[in-house]
């Protein structure tokens, strides 16, 4: 079952469709405008203090799911629930929601305003939340956040500009900014993929420590299955807007059943593994999400697809405790 009782975030049949912008003359044609089905029916939940990874390649819809949960992108249909209640759509409710659910972005070089001091960047969520704090308290909160993010002594960083910091430090600033309102849920969109390998681990450890200390749940979005394996409790594999498989991290890695999951595992580079020719690499590329696909989304590339796969879309079926797969082979 991918829905849990005590979930902090719960998503049910979420769909996010984008209409492709048409030229002027298409208003006269009778054809339906193409729709990009970025997310096409996704259901899962994240427990309190749990780390769930959404793993997929580009075009899988994983980032869109994250943004849709935080309402940075409007869901076309389906429900998103936070702490038991649907996410508010009114201005005030949304405002309150945004303080408890935050986002960490991928590019540490682009997600900080180059013209602001670090202290202003980290304090901004406080300012925007409209909390009426004295300068002292505001200052103390900023320092606290910086230190929690591992930037100590905080004084060294308060009045610097982003360009003075390294990639890893900037990402910690982003994290500090996300922490300052003491959220319970963070969507982390590829938070370490632009950092050097030796710096990544520091950030990952930080995220885990924060989870342990502050009971923060994460939706960890990544294309790197090994990263997902390291940090998450559960992994969901996405392809073309749908979840192909979801379950405990170890289960997915060691006993992944979906052909796509297995293909991803086969392609995982292992450091030190000397050339192994004849490795099964999936052919072709992820098709364009604007094209309507009959049946299973993966059927076009699946080495084991048969007739039923091309006509019917498989539902997620439980194959073990907490482990579900959407495939007719199972």
């Amino acid at each position: 079952m991918s829905q849990q009782k005590d979930a902090i975030v719960s998503v049910e049949d979420l769909r996010v469709h984008f209409e492709v912008r048409q030229g002027f003359f298409s208003a006269f044609s009778k054809k339906e405008p193409p729709v990009v089905r970025a997310v096409d029916g996704v259901t899962f939940s994240v427990g309190r203090g749990e780390i769930l990874s959404l793993v997929g390649e580009s075009g899988s819809g994983k980032t869109t799911v994250g943004k849709a949960i935080l309402q940075l992108v409007s869901p076309t249909s389906g429900t998103v629930s936070f702490d038991g209640a649907p996410v508010p759509q009114d201005r005030q409710g949304l405002h309150a929601f945004r303080q408890r659910a935050q986002m960490i972005f991928q590019d540490p070089y682009q997600s900080l305003n180059p013209r602001h001091y670090i202290s202003d960047i980290v304090a901004e969520p406080l300012d925007v939340a409209g909390t009426d704090l004295s300068a002292d308290v505001r200052d103390a909160r900023v320092r606290e956040a910086l230190e929690q993010a591992g930037l100590t002594p905080a004084d060294d960083y308060l009045y610097r500009y982003p360009y003075e910091l390294s990639g890893g430090q900037r990402q910690r600033v982003v994290i500090a900014g996300a922490l300052i309102l003491k959220p319970k849920f963070i969507v982390a969109d590829e938070p370490v993929s632009m950092l050097d390998a030796s710096i990544r681990t520091g950030i990952l450890k930080l995220m885990l420590r924060l989870r342990d200390e502050q009971d923060i749940a994460y939706l960890f979005i990544t294309h790197d299955l090994s990263l997902a394996w390291l940090i998450s409790d559960r992994i969901a594999i996405m392809y073309l807007g749908k979840i192909m498989e979801i379950g405990a991290a170890e289960e997915i890695i060691k006993r992944g059943l979906h052909p796509y999951t297995q293909a991803l595992m086969a392609v995982m580079p292992v450091p030190g593994q000397v050339r192994e020719s004849g490795r099964t690499v999936l052919e072709g590329e992820t098709p364009n999400a604007a094209i309507r696909i009959e049946g299973c989304k993966f059927s076009g590339r699946c080495p084991r697809a048969f007739d039923r796969c091309r006509k019917e879309e498989p539902e997620l079926v439980e194959v073990g405790p907490g482990h579900s797969v959407a495939c007719f082979l199972v």
């Binding site: 030796s198 990544r200 390291l230 940090i231 991290a249 593994q273 000397v274 690499v281």
Partner: protein
């Protein structure tokens, strides 16, 4: 004789803040038909080394020392004209973010043909025909040569760039992070492709990357760079199973191994040094857990430790 021999290369950049020693006395070699992985983290000088070999440095960069022998000929002695003749025939590069290097208003076929026409005595029609063959070589349907870049996916664009790099049948191909921006499945496809092409055409290949984990599958030898210097070289087995330099060892452990235990790897404390004013002695000493007095003052020379394995570290004694 080696296909490529780089000896004591020094490439510096003049900046408003001083001289940036991007590549500071770097030596490595490559035999024909072999693949060398040049690995290191951002700012270590690997891209600059590649650009130095192809002599495509930006105007602030200058090669201030050393020799680069391509098939026995020192390319640093070439004039601009001679260089232009050699470019693409002897050495070609697949740049980082190559997919964005395609001109959107020309068809892909025309762009590949451009490279051919500049270097070979073929007419435009013949060049277009050859470009179709090249596309076939990189597993793109020939008819696509008439299409524009925006009609190609990321992976296909990268293949087109590889086709372009092969246009003049180079002896050496340098791939600067050729798969970094690609999905993991496409990355595997491209690496397989490069591997196959290299074998079929007996080309030398230098693969530059920060991702150690892909090197085992594509390269014979590896050279590890840190802060403008080479800290260790050797065969893939030498590096992965018998790493002698503390940096190499720590770096390898930063990459997770799915078949091993689930544990967050240890990172490396601190940050890479500022190349305007690198630390005295061994450049890694501020971050090295084994550093001792000598490391702080004396730069370690490269020592041989058996076969093709070399290390630049005071902890390691030379053995022949």
């Amino acid at each position: 004789m080696n296909l490529l021999e780089v000896r004591n290369l020094k490439t510096y950049f003049s900046t408003t803040k001083g001289m940036l020693k991007a590549v500071d006395d770097v030596s490595f070699h490559l035999e024909s038909g072999q693949a060398l992985g040049l690995v290191g983290e951002s700012g270590c000088g690997k891209t600059t080394s590649a650009l130095s070999i192809a002599r495509l440095l930006p105007k602030e960069g200058r090669i201030v020392g050393g020799e680069i022998f391509l098939d026995g000929h020192d390319v640093l002695l070439d004039s601009e004209n001679e260089l232009r003749k050699r470019r693409w025939r002897d050495v070609s590069i697949i740049f980082q973010g190559a997919m964005n290097a395609l001109n959107p208003v020309l068809t892909v076929g025309e762009q590949i043909a451009e490279a051919i026409v500049l270097h070979e005595r073929l007419s435009k029609e013949e060049a277009l025909k050859k470009s179709q063959e090249l596309l076939d070589l990189v597993e793109i349907p020939k008819e696509r040569y008439k299409r524009y870049p925006h009609e190609f996916s990321g992976g296909m664009k990268q293949r087109a760039m590889i086709a372009m790099a092969l246009a003049c049948d180079p002896k050496l191909i340098i791939g600067d992070e050729p798969t970094t921006a690609l999905d993991v499945m496409i990355q595997a496809q491209i690496l397989n492709l490069l591997e196959r092409l290299r074998r079929e055409r007996s080309m030398g290949m230098i693969l530059i990357t920060h991702d150690l984990s892909i090197l085992g599958e594509t390269c014979d030898h590896i050279a590890v760079m840190y802060a403008g210097k080479i800290v260790e070289t050797g065969t893939v087995t030498d590096i992965f199973e018998h790493a002698r330099h503390p940096y190499t060892d720590r770096l390898i452990r930063c990459f997770p191994n799915i078949h091993g235990k689930k544990a967050i790897p240890e990172g490396i404390e601190g940050y890479p040094p500022n190349l305007l004013d690198p630390p005295a002695g061994c450049r890694f000493h501020p971050r090295c857990e084994y550093a001792f007095d000598r490391c702080r003052v004396e730069e370690p020379l490269t020592r041989h430790v058996g076969g093709e394995h070399t290390v630049a570290c005071h902890l390691v004694e030379e053995t022949r």
